[in-house]
Symmetry: C2
Subunit: 465 residues, 2 copies
């Protein structure tokens, strides 16, 4: 039994007055489209989709929702992987899709101020002519607001940090309709509480981010890719630890398990073969530096027994490799058309990566599961993808999932490296954070006392009723 | 009229039972020593100094204080510059000085776990044999806990980030005596609210940090220093903007005003002369890279009209230069023995640095004040030091201070780049953060409902009564 009120005609009239009739819809097709993300979490429809076109409109929508106790779930691009934007309790799907403009490029400061609905790839396409780019790289064309809300990360986090490391200021609409600005455009900030980072990663449960000023990086002069193939998982993973330990500042350091490598190389016309593979990227300001860095990487790979090392600075070849990597999941979905997937996103300290990988192999064997590994090894992040068809196998994947997540936590790691908590990881919160979860709940209660913001996420169910 | 209760015998007995008689003192000398920091803010004595030796003891002290409504102000090394650890309302000075151990060096992960009372320089001395260092560089031998509480930064922030960018996990004692852990040892974390960054920079007003796991960096293979002298402030500052714009990843990029350069070079046996000066440091993994970077820096400086450019990789000479820079304030205090100082710590986007500097020069002229400028120019951070003897001049420095801070805020910057809010910046909070201050107050009320934690700091006075 929900504590929330259903959307009625009076509420619809109020909402329409805020956003205009062109920016609100109760059509099933629109609600259907925003009822699921890219995960296997069960879809759930909102009662109405609202597209604010200004931050004030977003705040006004929240104010109406709060007064009427109607849940509000923000929607970006739907590319998340833990059910984060699924409107579990119905109510309003607050789509930021029409707030997708660049407000200002501060080229001399390597900064840009954008609306939250702008796509990550769209932003970088527009920044290209300034020679700048927004570095956190989630793979998909996620919305900037979604990246902030989930603290998204990706292949390049090892060098440039996650989303949280690349934001200077945000504007946030609060549950009660207040609109606040927090942060500044100065790199250094030591003025009051860091509200910026409280909202980043809060998955729309504390407020809705409407605008952000992001740190940009200059597009590197030289970008090189290196592919190294290994005879065993152990040597590949040891190489990751050795490269990190060398102090080399690689821009990407990806581990691709043998099965994943075989599928990706076959489907994307590459010649990786079925071996544990490392895919690396090196960004350099000088051609000479790139040469030195590649030499060092090559030496480490050779020393640890790489079977084959291939280096390229050719743009087309690099693109082909990284397209394969970025389209990893879509590719597998296509190759296994009749399967569903249990996805996992865990991270550990880099020194624990070999132990984690060994544990995963044992666990998959124990449950008799097929499982493919691929991960941002450079920062200890790993995804395990377990395909299943039937309910028995699904149950096994869930058990394997729990065992592996517990192991990551036991290794001083986390249940979520970059996908957020959403629906799927809520059950691990107490185990991972202990008494700190109570503090999180107190903050939620303070900023959203009626619980209208993205209910059912982050906290285990009991907290929402 | 204070809302707090005085320390009485019963409370002393309770506190003694927690920390043992050796770790508690009401001696005037001990209280005197912890009544002031390095700023000119008026000293104020606690009623008792307590030295916990474990996190649980710190939490238990807070529990007693909370039950008895006694204020608690954490004490680290007393090197802060905004009165942050001054016990304005008396009560307990919670000194972390005896919790000064390294708990574990995770060398393969480039991490260390330490107790909060450990000194920054002491930590780096102990890390030297691992070839690692904790990069945020506040100059003084600040305690790690104090650095975290104030989000300290310094010369190397331009490359390595501020304290907040170099912490993975903390343990915090809360006002009600709970002890929580937040964060993890994995680089990537997207699991629940970012409590870590809420406590970092909260200046002991939300909790007391008792332990932290810090990110470390490998000691660079090659460290070079470059000093460039300019005929005018404008050309020096344009050079800062140009170097940043070039994408060069300098490890330090300091602006030293002509008067500051003259004093520091004279007192520390350097040959800088009385010119606007840039002091830079370049960290490189290869000798070849260092050469390329220095070449580029030199070209930019020459192009913008540097009078003199001097480069060195000699360790002794580098040390001499950086000792001068780090001992800037102590040197000036010695050179002007009869003066007091109004210090300022502001930061703006780098593109606004020239306008800020020009405004400061005009403002100092307008008020007929002596003012020395020195700052971490690479990230738009600037300190203005205004010496004064008499009350009339002091009032002028306060007016100049307000005008300059307002200007920094108007330029999309901040009232505090690295010293925190403490006492001196509280009056700017509303102007800088607007309605977000109300949210900060709500969080304070949630986590410290009785207001026992470091009262009188961050928020303008009305909030504390």
């Amino acid at each position: 039994m929900s504590v929330y009120n259903p959307i009625n005609t009076a509420i619809l009239t109020q909402l329409t007055a805020v956003v205009s009739p062109a920016n609100i819809s109760t059509a099933e097709a629109e609600r259907q489209l925003r009822s699921h993300d890219m995960s296997q979490h069960a879809p759930c429809m909102s009662e109405v989709v609202v597209w604010p076109t200004t931050a004030q409109q977003a705040a006004d929508v929240l104010c109406i929702a709060n007064e009427n106790r109607v849940p509000v779930t923000a929607w970006g691009a739907g590319s998340s992987l833990e059910g984060n934007p699924i409107p579990l309790f119905g109510g309003i799907s607050l789509s930021m899709e029409r707030m997708n403009h660049i407000i200002e490029v501060h080229a001399n400061d390597f900064q840009v101020t954008v609306e939250a609905g702008l796509g990550y790839k769209d932003l970088n396409a527009k920044l290209a002519r300034y020679g700048l780019f927004f570095a956190p790289d989630p793979g998909a064309n996620a919305s900037i607001g979604g990246m902030l809300a989930n603290n998204a990360a990706g292949s390049r986090t090892v060098k440039y940090g996650a989303t949280k490391d690349n934001v200077l200021a945000i504007e946030v609409a609060l549950a009660d309709g207040r609109l606040i600005q927090t942060g500044a455009r100065s790199i250094k900030q030591a003025s009051g509480y860091d509200l910026l980072h409280l909202f980043i990663g809060s998955e729309g449960t504390l407020g809705v981010i409407t605008q952000a000023t992001l740190k940009l990086m200059p597009v590197p002069t030289v970008m090189s890719s290196v592919v190294a193939t290994f005879g065993t998982v152990a040597t590949a993973v040891e190489t990751v630890v050795a490269i990190r330990g060398s102090g080399l500042d690689v821009a990407a350091l990806e581990f691709i398990g043998a099965k994943s490598a075989a599928i990706l190389s076959r489907e994307h016309g590459l010649d990786w073969g079925e071996y544990p593979t490392l895919l690396m990227e090196i960004h350099a300001a000088h051609a000479e530096t790139a040469v030195l860095d590649i030499k060092l990487v090559r030496e480490i790979c050779e020393e640890l027994g790489a079977i084959r090392i291939h280096t390229t600075t050719d743009a087309a070849e690099r693109k082909q490799m990284w397209t394969a990597r970025h389209h990893n999941f879509e590719t597998k979905v296509r190759v296994f058309p009749d399967y569903k997937w249990q996805l996992m996103d865990i991270a550990v300290p880099i020194s624990a990566y070999p132990e984690l990988i060994a544990f995963i192999s044992q666990t998959l064997d124990f449950y008799g599961l097929e499982g493919m590994m691929i991960g941002h090894a450079g920062d200890g992040n790993l995804h395990v993808e377990m395909p299943y068809k039937d309910e028995v196998t699904r149950q096994s994947t869930l058990q394997a999932n729990d065992a592996i997540v517990d192991k990551a936590i036991a290794l001083d790691g986390t249940s979520s490296g970059e996908h957020g908590v959403g629906i799927g990881k809520a059950k691990f919160m107490d185990r991972e954070h202990g008494t700190a979860v109570a503090v999180m709940r107190e903050l939620k209660q303070t900023l959203d006392p009626k619980g209208i913001l993205n209910p059912g996420k982050i906290f285990p169910p009991k907290s929402e009723h």
